[in-house]
């Protein structure tokens, strides 16, 4: 194996290692909008299954607040665009495909005439968007217009 090949392999290994470290680090320290510790809505101290509470997440110039939220199945989250914030389009999953809780993508569930379950996707710019979570799990969301702004909702 000649020196050039060895250097190339070493370079790839170092690069891959750097990516791994960055990837691990990004989970611990998100770039612009670090999620706050998981909090419950101020209206209830303990989530109660099936109560259908509404929790509000505000979208400001600094991102989503709170960026992490723990709710019960059947609860609704209301996203509200605040003054001075960027345009808002709430969507779940990864940008820009928005794989929804039911597995559909933006091109499917935002298409005209879509008759499936309501997706976790606003499908257009707006000032308010609400979604009722009927499935337990950790559901990430982001602003389709500014992918840096993200958060997570833990449905228990």
């Amino acid at each position: 194996m000649n020196k050039t090949t060895l250097l190339a392999i070493l370079g790839v290994v170092i690069f891959a290692g750097g990516l791994y470290v960055l990837s691990s680090g990004s989970k611990a320290a998100p770039t612009q909008n670090p999620p706050s510790p998981i909090v419950t809505d101020s209206t209830s101290s303990t989530p109660v299954p099936g109560t259908g509470k509404t929790h509000t997440i505000n979208y400001t110039g600094s991102g989503f607040s709170p960026a992490s939220l723990a709710i019960a199945m059947g609860d609704t989250v209301l996203f509200v665009k605040g003054a001075g914030s960027r345009d808002m389009w709430i969507a779940g999953g990864h940008h820009p495909t928005h794989e929804s809780l039911d597995g559909t993508t933006r091109s499917e569930h935002c298409a005209a005439g879509y008759s499936g379950p309501k997706p976790f996707d606003e499908c257009a710019l707006g000032t308010q968007y609400s979604y009722t979570f009927e499935k337990s799990g950790a559901w990430t969301f982001h602003n389709h217009y500014s992918d840096d702004d993200r958060g997570i909702i833990n449905v228990q």
Partner: protein, 120 residues
């Protein structure tokens, strides 16, 4: 010349495609693409002006690469832009990892072009 061999033409075409598709698709789906701009860039210019100005730069880079003439500069720019996109959108690495591979193509072409220029 190294830059006009068939393998190099194929690589240049592939790289150019990576810089032609986004600005063209942005004409039909601008919001998806503006979403990739990091937060600090929003507000510097109106978002659509920012998006389409960036698109014009991407088209210029693509056409320059396709021309095959002195492509060290556009290939280097392409690599820098691709790696910056990955760095500023690292949370989407599951989608953007391919940009790293495309950047390596750009770097390879830049190095080949530099070598070709040095050989005269």
């Amino acid at each position: 010349m190294l830059t006009s061999s068939l393998p190099t033409v194929v690589l240049r075409s592939g790289l150019a495609l990576a810089f032609l598709f986004p600005p063209i698709n942005a004409l039909y789906d601008p919001i998806s693409w503006i979403g990739y701009f990091p937060g600090f860039m929003h507000g510097l210019l109106p978002d659509m002006i920012l998006l389409h100005t960036f698109g014009i730069i991407e088209v210029a880079i693509a056409l320059w690469i396709l021309s095959g003439k002195h492509i060290f500069i556009p290939c280097t720019l392409a690599a820098v832009m691709l790696l910056a996109i990955v760095a500023f959108n690292f949370q989407d690495f599951q989608v953007l990892f391919r940009d790293v591979s495309i950047a390596s193509i750009a770097i390879s072409l830049a190095l080949s072009a530099r070598k070709a220029e040095q050989l005269g």
